[in-house]
Subunit: 211 residues, 2 copies
DNA sequence: CCCGATACCCCCCTTTCGAGGTGTTTCGTT
DNA sequence: AACGAAACACCTCGAAAGGGGGGTATCGGG
Protein backbone atom coordinates (compact mmCIF):
# COMPACT_ATOMS: atom_id res chain seq x y z
CA UNK A 1 0.00 0.00 0.00
CA UNK A 2 1.38 3.42 -0.94
CA UNK A 3 2.07 5.67 2.00
CA UNK A 4 0.62 8.75 0.35
CA UNK A 5 0.25 10.28 -3.08
CA UNK A 6 3.00 12.77 -2.35
CA UNK A 7 5.69 10.12 -1.75
CA UNK A 8 5.58 7.68 -4.59
CA UNK A 9 7.27 4.28 -4.45
CA UNK A 10 10.68 4.78 -6.05
CA UNK A 11 11.78 1.94 -8.31
CA UNK A 12 15.09 0.87 -9.86
CA UNK A 13 14.88 -1.37 -12.93
CA UNK A 14 17.73 -3.79 -13.67
CA UNK A 15 17.49 -5.70 -16.94
CA UNK A 16 19.70 -6.02 -19.97
CA UNK A 17 16.80 -5.95 -22.43
CA UNK A 18 16.08 -2.33 -23.38
CA UNK A 19 12.70 -3.19 -24.85
CA UNK A 20 11.58 -4.91 -21.68
CA UNK A 21 12.84 -1.99 -19.60
CA UNK A 22 10.74 0.32 -21.72
CA UNK A 23 7.71 -1.85 -21.04
CA UNK A 24 8.33 -1.81 -17.32
CA UNK A 25 8.77 1.94 -17.28
CA UNK A 26 5.56 2.50 -19.21
CA UNK A 27 3.55 0.22 -16.95
CA UNK A 28 5.00 1.61 -13.74
CA UNK A 29 4.78 5.25 -14.73
CA UNK A 30 1.12 4.79 -15.61
CA UNK A 31 0.46 4.39 -11.89
CA UNK A 32 0.06 7.47 -9.75
CA UNK A 33 1.80 5.94 -6.74
CA UNK A 34 4.82 4.51 -8.54
CA UNK A 35 7.83 6.00 -10.25
CA UNK A 36 10.99 4.71 -11.93
CA UNK A 37 14.05 6.52 -10.60
CA UNK A 38 16.71 4.72 -12.64
CA UNK A 39 17.43 1.92 -15.11
CA UNK A 40 20.46 -0.37 -15.18
CA UNK A 41 21.52 -2.81 -17.88
CA UNK A 42 24.34 -4.50 -15.99
CA UNK A 43 25.15 -5.66 -12.48
CA UNK A 44 27.77 -2.96 -12.06
CA UNK A 45 25.35 -0.25 -13.08
CA UNK A 46 22.75 -1.75 -10.77
CA UNK A 47 24.97 -1.32 -7.72
CA UNK A 48 26.10 2.19 -8.71
CA UNK A 49 22.54 3.34 -9.36
CA UNK A 50 21.27 1.74 -6.17
CA UNK A 51 23.87 3.71 -4.16
CA UNK A 52 22.91 6.88 -5.98
CA UNK A 53 19.14 6.62 -5.61
CA UNK A 54 18.35 4.23 -2.76
CA UNK A 55 15.14 3.03 -4.41
CA UNK A 56 12.28 1.58 -2.39
CA UNK A 57 12.02 -1.37 -4.74
CA UNK A 58 14.50 -2.92 -7.15
CA UNK A 59 13.11 -4.96 -10.04
CA UNK A 60 15.84 -7.28 -11.13
CA UNK A 61 16.47 -9.72 -13.95
CA UNK A 62 18.79 -12.61 -13.09
CA UNK A 63 20.33 -12.93 -16.54
CA UNK A 64 22.74 -10.02 -16.52
CA UNK A 65 25.61 -9.93 -19.01
CA UNK A 66 28.42 -9.04 -16.62
CA UNK A 67 27.43 -10.65 -13.35
CA UNK A 68 25.25 -13.23 -11.72
CA UNK A 69 22.00 -11.69 -10.54
CA UNK A 70 22.19 -13.64 -7.29
CA UNK A 71 25.53 -12.07 -6.42
CA UNK A 72 24.17 -8.61 -7.10
CA UNK A 73 21.27 -9.31 -4.76
CA UNK A 74 23.69 -10.50 -2.08
CA UNK A 75 25.89 -7.43 -2.46
CA UNK A 76 22.96 -5.07 -2.25
CA UNK A 77 21.47 -6.80 0.76
CA UNK A 78 24.78 -6.85 2.60
CA UNK A 79 25.33 -3.13 2.31
CA UNK A 80 21.63 -2.28 2.50
CA UNK A 81 19.74 -4.87 4.55
CA UNK A 82 16.54 -2.92 4.00
CA UNK A 83 16.73 -3.19 0.21
CA UNK A 84 13.58 -4.72 -1.23
CA UNK A 85 14.24 -6.69 -4.37
CA UNK A 86 11.82 -8.37 -6.75
CA UNK A 87 13.33 -10.85 -9.18
CA UNK A 88 11.85 -10.82 -12.66
CA UNK A 89 13.02 -13.68 -14.80
CA UNK A 90 12.13 -15.44 -18.03
CA UNK A 91 12.10 -18.90 -16.58
CA UNK A 92 14.70 -20.63 -14.54
CA UNK A 93 13.83 -23.69 -12.50
CA UNK A 94 13.31 -23.85 -8.79
CA UNK A 95 16.99 -23.67 -7.86
CA UNK A 96 17.44 -20.12 -9.10
CA UNK A 97 14.30 -19.05 -7.27
CA UNK A 98 15.50 -20.61 -4.02
CA UNK A 99 18.90 -18.98 -4.36
CA UNK A 100 17.39 -15.60 -5.09
CA UNK A 101 15.07 -15.78 -2.11
CA UNK A 102 17.88 -16.99 0.13
CA UNK A 103 20.08 -14.16 -1.13
CA UNK A 104 17.43 -11.78 0.14
CA UNK A 105 14.94 -11.24 -2.66
CA UNK A 106 11.42 -10.41 -1.51
CA UNK A 107 9.61 -11.48 -4.65
CA UNK A 108 9.98 -13.69 -7.65
CA UNK A 109 8.01 -13.12 -10.86
CA UNK A 110 8.09 -14.61 -14.32
CA UNK A 111 8.41 -12.24 -17.25
CA UNK A 112 5.34 -13.84 -18.77
CA UNK A 113 3.44 -12.21 -15.92
CA UNK A 114 0.59 -9.76 -16.37
CA UNK A 115 0.82 -6.03 -15.64
CA UNK A 116 -1.70 -6.44 -12.84
CA UNK A 117 0.41 -9.06 -11.05
CA UNK A 118 3.53 -6.98 -11.48
CA UNK A 119 1.93 -3.91 -9.93
CA UNK A 120 0.39 -5.96 -7.13
CA UNK A 121 3.78 -7.43 -6.34
CA UNK A 122 5.49 -4.07 -6.22
CA UNK A 123 2.92 -2.72 -3.78
CA UNK A 124 2.90 -5.88 -1.68
CA UNK A 125 6.67 -5.98 -1.34
CA UNK A 126 6.80 -2.28 -0.55
CA UNK A 127 4.32 -2.95 2.23
CA UNK A 128 6.83 -5.39 3.69
CA UNK A 129 5.34 -8.61 2.39
CA UNK A 130 7.03 -11.40 0.52
CA UNK A 131 5.50 -12.14 -2.84
CA UNK A 132 6.25 -15.22 -4.87
CA UNK A 133 4.18 -16.01 -7.92
CA UNK A 134 1.90 -19.04 -7.69
CA UNK A 135 3.62 -20.92 -10.53
CA UNK A 136 6.99 -20.46 -8.88
CA UNK A 137 5.68 -21.38 -5.46
CA UNK A 138 4.27 -24.61 -6.89
CA UNK A 139 7.61 -25.45 -8.43
CA UNK A 140 9.32 -24.70 -5.13
CA UNK A 141 6.94 -26.96 -3.27
CA UNK A 142 7.43 -29.78 -5.73
CA UNK A 143 11.14 -30.00 -5.10
CA UNK A 144 11.20 -28.83 -1.50
CA UNK A 145 11.60 -32.32 -0.10
CA UNK A 146 14.18 -33.32 -2.67
CA UNK A 147 17.85 -33.28 -2.06
CA UNK A 148 19.89 -30.60 -3.70
CA UNK A 149 23.29 -31.01 -5.25
CA UNK A 150 26.49 -30.05 -3.47
CA UNK A 151 28.87 -27.60 -5.10
CA UNK A 152 31.18 -30.39 -6.06
CA UNK A 153 28.42 -32.36 -7.67
CA UNK A 154 27.37 -29.38 -9.75
CA UNK A 155 30.99 -28.93 -10.77
CA UNK A 156 31.16 -32.55 -11.91
CA UNK A 157 27.86 -32.31 -13.75
CA UNK A 158 28.92 -29.17 -15.57
CA UNK A 159 31.98 -30.93 -16.94
CA UNK A 160 29.90 -33.93 -17.96
CA UNK A 161 27.57 -31.58 -19.81
CA UNK A 162 30.46 -30.41 -21.95
CA UNK A 163 31.28 -33.93 -23.04
CA UNK A 164 33.89 -34.98 -20.49
CA UNK A 165 34.19 -38.65 -19.58
CA UNK A 166 34.60 -39.61 -15.95
CA UNK A 167 38.33 -39.93 -16.51
CA UNK A 168 38.62 -36.43 -17.99
CA UNK A 169 36.54 -35.01 -15.16
CA UNK A 170 38.86 -36.71 -12.70
CA UNK A 171 41.89 -35.11 -14.38
CA UNK A 172 40.32 -31.68 -14.42
CA UNK A 173 39.38 -31.81 -10.76
CA UNK A 174 42.52 -33.65 -9.69
CA UNK A 175 40.63 -36.51 -8.13
CA UNK A 176 40.40 -40.19 -8.98
CA UNK A 177 37.98 -41.58 -11.53
CA UNK A 178 36.35 -43.66 -8.82
CA UNK A 179 35.56 -40.55 -6.88
CA UNK A 180 33.96 -39.03 -9.94
CA UNK A 181 31.87 -42.17 -10.34
CA UNK A 182 30.80 -41.83 -6.75
CA UNK A 183 29.69 -38.26 -7.38
CA UNK A 184 27.86 -39.29 -10.53
CA UNK A 185 26.03 -41.99 -8.62
CA UNK A 186 24.90 -39.48 -6.03
CA UNK A 187 23.83 -37.03 -8.73
CA UNK A 188 21.74 -39.65 -10.52
CA UNK A 189 20.08 -40.61 -7.26
CA UNK A 190 19.33 -37.06 -6.16
CA UNK A 191 17.93 -35.95 -9.50
CA UNK A 192 16.14 -39.26 -10.10
CA UNK A 193 17.92 -39.47 -13.43
CA UNK A 194 18.31 -42.57 -15.57
CA UNK A 195 21.79 -41.70 -16.77
CA UNK A 196 24.27 -38.82 -17.00
CA UNK A 197 22.58 -37.30 -20.03
CA UNK A 198 19.25 -37.26 -18.26
CA UNK A 199 20.91 -35.74 -15.21
CA UNK A 200 22.20 -32.87 -17.31
CA UNK A 201 18.83 -32.06 -18.84
CA UNK A 202 17.14 -32.23 -15.43
CA UNK A 203 19.77 -29.95 -13.91
CA UNK A 204 19.38 -27.46 -16.75
CA UNK A 205 15.63 -27.52 -16.41
CA UNK A 206 15.78 -26.94 -12.68
CA UNK A 207 18.32 -24.15 -13.06
CA UNK A 208 21.36 -25.67 -11.37
CA UNK A 209 23.46 -24.18 -14.14
CA UNK A 210 23.25 -22.98 -17.72
CA UNK A 211 25.02 -23.74 -20.94
CA UNK B 1 11.60 3.97 -45.94
CA UNK B 2 8.09 5.18 -45.09
CA UNK B 3 5.95 6.00 -48.09
CA UNK B 4 4.62 9.22 -46.61
CA UNK B 5 3.74 10.68 -43.26
CA UNK B 6 0.03 10.20 -43.92
CA UNK B 7 0.28 6.41 -44.25
CA UNK B 8 2.15 5.06 -41.30
CA UNK B 9 3.67 1.59 -41.23
CA UNK B 10 1.07 -0.64 -39.59
CA UNK B 11 2.48 -3.19 -37.17
CA UNK B 12 1.14 -6.33 -35.50
CA UNK B 13 2.91 -7.48 -32.34
CA UNK B 14 2.93 -11.17 -31.42
CA UNK B 15 4.47 -12.07 -28.06
CA UNK B 16 3.23 -13.84 -24.99
CA UNK B 17 4.99 -11.45 -22.58
CA UNK B 18 2.64 -8.55 -21.82
CA UNK B 19 5.46 -6.45 -20.40
CA UNK B 20 7.56 -6.84 -23.50
CA UNK B 21 4.56 -6.03 -25.70
CA UNK B 22 4.11 -2.84 -23.71
CA UNK B 23 7.71 -1.93 -24.37
CA UNK B 24 7.38 -2.55 -28.08
CA UNK B 25 4.20 -0.48 -28.27
CA UNK B 26 5.82 2.42 -26.44
CA UNK B 27 8.90 2.38 -28.63
CA UNK B 28 6.97 2.03 -31.87
CA UNK B 29 4.31 4.59 -31.06
CA UNK B 30 6.99 7.13 -30.23
CA UNK B 31 7.80 7.21 -33.94
CA UNK B 32 5.73 9.38 -36.25
CA UNK B 33 5.87 6.93 -39.15
CA UNK B 34 4.98 3.78 -37.21
CA UNK B 35 1.86 2.52 -35.49
CA UNK B 36 0.78 -0.64 -33.70
CA UNK B 37 -2.55 -1.90 -35.03
CA UNK B 38 -2.92 -4.99 -32.88
CA UNK B 39 -1.28 -7.22 -30.24
CA UNK B 40 -1.47 -11.00 -30.01
CA UNK B 41 -0.37 -13.26 -27.18
CA UNK B 42 -0.85 -16.61 -28.91
CA UNK B 43 -0.39 -18.12 -32.35
CA UNK B 44 -4.12 -18.42 -32.86
CA UNK B 45 -4.67 -14.79 -32.02
CA UNK B 46 -1.81 -13.86 -34.31
CA UNK B 47 -3.48 -15.42 -37.33
CA UNK B 48 -6.90 -13.98 -36.48
CA UNK B 49 -5.54 -10.51 -35.96
CA UNK B 50 -3.43 -10.70 -39.09
CA UNK B 51 -6.55 -11.52 -41.12
CA UNK B 52 -8.41 -8.67 -39.49
CA UNK B 53 -5.76 -5.98 -39.91
CA UNK B 54 -3.37 -7.04 -42.66
CA UNK B 55 -0.43 -5.27 -41.04
CA UNK B 56 2.57 -4.09 -43.06
CA UNK B 57 4.94 -5.66 -40.57
CA UNK B 58 4.47 -8.46 -38.04
CA UNK B 59 6.87 -8.57 -35.09
CA UNK B 60 6.87 -12.10 -33.82
CA UNK B 61 8.26 -14.01 -30.90
CA UNK B 62 9.00 -17.69 -31.56
CA UNK B 63 8.18 -18.93 -28.07
CA UNK B 64 4.41 -18.88 -28.15
CA UNK B 65 2.43 -20.92 -25.63
CA UNK B 66 -0.01 -22.60 -28.01
CA UNK B 67 1.94 -23.01 -31.22
CA UNK B 68 5.35 -23.09 -32.73
CA UNK B 69 6.32 -19.67 -34.07
CA UNK B 70 7.77 -21.21 -37.22
CA UNK B 71 4.43 -22.81 -38.08
CA UNK B 72 2.63 -19.52 -37.60
CA UNK B 73 5.08 -17.86 -39.98
CA UNK B 74 4.51 -20.60 -42.55
CA UNK B 75 0.74 -20.30 -42.27
CA UNK B 76 0.80 -16.56 -42.65
CA UNK B 77 3.15 -16.67 -45.61
CA UNK B 78 1.09 -19.32 -47.36
CA UNK B 79 -2.11 -17.34 -47.24
CA UNK B 80 -0.37 -13.98 -47.55
CA UNK B 81 2.86 -14.28 -49.50
CA UNK B 82 3.42 -10.55 -49.14
CA UNK B 83 3.42 -10.69 -45.32
CA UNK B 84 6.58 -9.18 -43.89
CA UNK B 85 7.59 -10.80 -40.64
CA UNK B 86 10.38 -9.91 -38.25
CA UNK B 87 11.25 -12.54 -35.67
CA UNK B 88 12.10 -11.25 -32.22
CA UNK B 89 13.48 -13.87 -29.90
CA UNK B 90 15.32 -14.17 -26.61
CA UNK B 91 18.01 -16.44 -27.87
CA UNK B 92 17.74 -19.62 -29.75
CA UNK B 93 20.69 -21.00 -31.68
CA UNK B 94 21.22 -20.85 -35.39
CA UNK B 95 18.76 -23.62 -36.22
CA UNK B 96 15.72 -21.62 -35.17
CA UNK B 97 16.95 -18.62 -37.12
CA UNK B 98 17.47 -20.69 -40.27
CA UNK B 99 14.03 -22.25 -39.94
CA UNK B 100 12.38 -18.89 -39.42
CA UNK B 101 14.09 -17.37 -42.44
CA UNK B 102 13.26 -20.42 -44.53
CA UNK B 103 9.66 -20.21 -43.38
CA UNK B 104 9.56 -16.74 -44.83
CA UNK B 105 10.68 -14.34 -42.11
CA UNK B 106 12.32 -11.16 -43.39
CA UNK B 107 14.23 -10.30 -40.24
CA UNK B 108 15.61 -11.87 -37.11
CA UNK B 109 16.37 -9.86 -34.00
CA UNK B 110 17.37 -10.70 -30.44
CA UNK B 111 15.29 -9.30 -27.64
CA UNK B 112 18.46 -7.88 -26.13
CA UNK B 113 18.50 -5.53 -29.08
CA UNK B 114 18.44 -1.76 -28.81
CA UNK B 115 15.49 0.44 -29.71
CA UNK B 116 17.47 1.97 -32.54
CA UNK B 117 18.14 -1.43 -34.16
CA UNK B 118 14.55 -2.45 -33.77
CA UNK B 119 13.27 0.67 -35.49
CA UNK B 120 15.88 0.40 -38.23
CA UNK B 121 14.84 -3.17 -38.87
CA UNK B 122 11.17 -2.34 -39.11
CA UNK B 123 11.84 0.38 -41.66
CA UNK B 124 14.32 -1.73 -43.62
CA UNK B 125 11.98 -4.70 -43.84
CA UNK B 126 9.09 -2.46 -44.81
CA UNK B 127 11.24 -1.12 -47.63
CA UNK B 128 11.52 -4.67 -48.90
CA UNK B 129 14.94 -5.52 -47.50
CA UNK B 130 15.92 -8.49 -45.44
CA UNK B 131 17.41 -7.65 -42.11
CA UNK B 132 19.26 -10.10 -39.91
CA UNK B 133 21.11 -8.88 -36.87
CA UNK B 134 24.90 -9.06 -36.99
CA UNK B 135 25.18 -11.46 -34.04
CA UNK B 136 22.70 -13.84 -35.62
CA UNK B 137 24.34 -13.57 -39.04
CA UNK B 138 27.68 -14.48 -37.48
CA UNK B 139 26.14 -17.50 -35.83
CA UNK B 140 24.54 -18.51 -39.11
CA UNK B 141 27.82 -18.20 -40.96
CA UNK B 142 29.62 -20.25 -38.35
CA UNK B 143 27.42 -23.26 -38.85
CA UNK B 144 26.55 -22.74 -42.51
CA UNK B 145 29.01 -25.31 -43.76
CA UNK B 146 28.10 -27.80 -41.08
CA UNK B 147 25.73 -30.64 -41.58
CA UNK B 148 22.35 -30.41 -39.99
CA UNK B 149 20.46 -33.20 -38.32
CA UNK B 150 17.71 -35.14 -40.05
CA UNK B 151 14.26 -35.37 -38.50
CA UNK B 152 14.93 -38.89 -37.39
CA UNK B 153 18.19 -37.93 -35.75
CA UNK B 154 16.50 -35.14 -33.81
CA UNK B 155 13.85 -37.61 -32.74
CA UNK B 156 16.51 -39.98 -31.44
CA UNK B 157 18.39 -37.21 -29.68
CA UNK B 158 15.25 -35.96 -27.96
CA UNK B 159 14.67 -39.39 -26.46
CA UNK B 160 18.28 -39.63 -25.38
CA UNK B 161 17.91 -36.26 -23.67
CA UNK B 162 15.14 -37.69 -21.51
CA UNK B 163 17.33 -40.50 -20.28
CA UNK B 164 16.55 -43.28 -22.73
CA UNK B 165 19.23 -45.86 -23.49
CA UNK B 166 19.77 -46.95 -27.08
CA UNK B 167 17.65 -50.01 -26.43
CA UNK B 168 14.73 -47.97 -25.09
CA UNK B 169 14.98 -45.56 -27.99
CA UNK B 170 14.85 -48.55 -30.34
CA UNK B 171 11.69 -49.82 -28.64
CA UNK B 172 10.03 -46.44 -28.75
CA UNK B 173 10.75 -45.94 -32.43
CA UNK B 174 10.18 -49.58 -33.36
CA UNK B 175 13.61 -49.99 -34.89
CA UNK B 176 16.60 -52.11 -33.92
CA UNK B 177 19.16 -51.00 -31.38
CA UNK B 178 21.83 -51.16 -34.04
CA UNK B 179 19.97 -48.63 -36.10
CA UNK B 180 19.77 -46.33 -33.12
CA UNK B 181 23.50 -46.72 -32.67
CA UNK B 182 23.98 -45.76 -36.29
CA UNK B 183 21.93 -42.62 -35.78
CA UNK B 184 23.84 -41.77 -32.64
CA UNK B 185 27.12 -42.12 -34.49
CA UNK B 186 25.93 -39.75 -37.19
CA UNK B 187 24.68 -37.28 -34.59
CA UNK B 188 28.00 -37.26 -32.76
CA UNK B 189 29.84 -36.74 -36.03
CA UNK B 190 27.61 -33.95 -37.28
CA UNK B 191 27.58 -32.03 -34.00
CA UNK B 192 31.27 -32.73 -33.30
CA UNK B 193 30.24 -34.09 -29.93
CA UNK B 194 32.34 -36.27 -27.64
CA UNK B 195 29.44 -38.34 -26.41
CA UNK B 196 25.65 -38.42 -26.26
CA UNK B 197 25.48 -36.03 -23.32
CA UNK B 198 27.60 -33.49 -25.17
CA UNK B 199 25.43 -33.96 -28.25
CA UNK B 200 22.34 -33.04 -26.24
CA UNK B 201 23.85 -29.84 -24.82
CA UNK B 202 25.11 -28.80 -28.26
CA UNK B 203 21.71 -29.47 -29.82
CA UNK B 204 19.99 -27.46 -27.10
CA UNK B 205 22.43 -24.62 -27.53
CA UNK B 206 21.95 -24.53 -31.26
CA UNK B 207 18.18 -24.71 -30.96
CA UNK B 208 17.43 -28.09 -32.50
CA UNK B 209 14.91 -28.64 -29.75
CA UNK B 210 14.06 -27.55 -26.23
CA UNK B 211 13.45 -29.26 -22.93
C1' DC C 1 31.19 -35.73 22.13
C1' DC C 2 29.04 -37.97 18.43
C1' DC C 3 26.51 -37.23 14.25
C1' DG C 4 25.48 -36.06 9.56
C1' DA C 5 27.14 -34.19 5.43
C1' DT C 6 30.79 -33.85 2.34
C1' DA C 7 34.68 -35.31 -0.21
C1' DC C 8 37.62 -38.62 -1.11
C1' DC C 9 39.50 -43.42 -2.33
C1' DC C 10 39.35 -48.63 -3.72
C1' DC C 11 37.36 -53.18 -5.11
C1' DC C 12 33.94 -55.88 -7.66
C1' DC C 13 30.88 -56.81 -11.74
C1' DT C 14 27.47 -56.17 -15.64
C1' DT C 15 25.57 -53.35 -19.04
C1' DT C 16 25.86 -49.83 -22.26
C1' DC C 17 28.42 -46.93 -25.43
C1' DG C 18 30.87 -45.77 -29.18
C1' DA C 19 34.05 -46.88 -33.10
C1' DG C 20 34.84 -49.90 -36.83
C1' DG C 21 33.06 -52.07 -41.11
C1' DT C 22 29.17 -53.80 -44.58
C1' DG C 23 25.08 -54.27 -46.43
C1' DT C 24 19.94 -53.57 -47.76
C1' DT C 25 15.72 -50.71 -49.26
C1' DT C 26 13.34 -46.68 -50.19
C1' DC C 27 12.63 -42.30 -51.90
C1' DG C 28 13.11 -37.99 -54.18
C1' DT C 29 16.02 -35.65 -57.65
C1' DT C 30 18.34 -35.42 -61.60
C1' DA D 1 17.45 -45.01 -65.47
C1' DA D 2 20.77 -43.39 -62.26
C1' DC D 3 22.04 -41.10 -58.31
C1' DG D 4 22.79 -39.82 -53.52
C1' DA D 5 20.72 -39.40 -49.12
C1' DA D 6 18.43 -41.47 -45.45
C1' DA D 7 16.82 -45.10 -42.74
C1' DC D 8 17.41 -49.56 -41.57
C1' DA D 9 20.02 -53.86 -40.12
C1' DC D 10 23.91 -56.98 -38.73
C1' DC D 11 28.73 -57.86 -37.04
C1' DT D 12 32.90 -57.26 -33.74
C1' DC D 13 35.28 -55.31 -29.86
C1' DG D 14 37.44 -52.31 -26.41
C1' DA D 15 36.29 -48.58 -23.49
C1' DA D 16 33.08 -46.29 -20.66
C1' DA D 17 29.34 -46.13 -17.58
C1' DG D 18 26.82 -47.41 -13.69
C1' DG D 19 25.36 -50.36 -9.72
C1' DG D 20 27.00 -52.69 -5.60
C1' DG D 21 29.95 -53.13 -1.75
C1' DG D 22 33.70 -51.39 1.32
C1' DG D 23 36.48 -47.61 3.59
C1' DT D 24 38.95 -42.77 5.55
C1' DA D 25 39.20 -37.70 6.85
C1' DT D 26 37.17 -33.35 7.74
C1' DC D 27 34.03 -30.04 9.48
C1' DG D 28 30.17 -27.82 11.76
C1' DG D 29 26.14 -28.25 14.70
C1' DG D 30 23.24 -30.55 18.20
Amino acid sequence: MPKSSSSRIRILIVDDHPVLREGLVTIIESQADLQVVAEAGTGKEAITLFEAHHPDITLMDLGLPDANGIDVIKTLRETHPDARIIVLTTYLGDVQAIRALRAGASGYLLKATLRRDLLDSIRAVHAGLRHVQAEVATELGQHAAELSLTEREVEVLKLIATGCSNKIVADRLNISEDTVKGHVRNILFKLKANDRTHAVTIALHRGFFEI
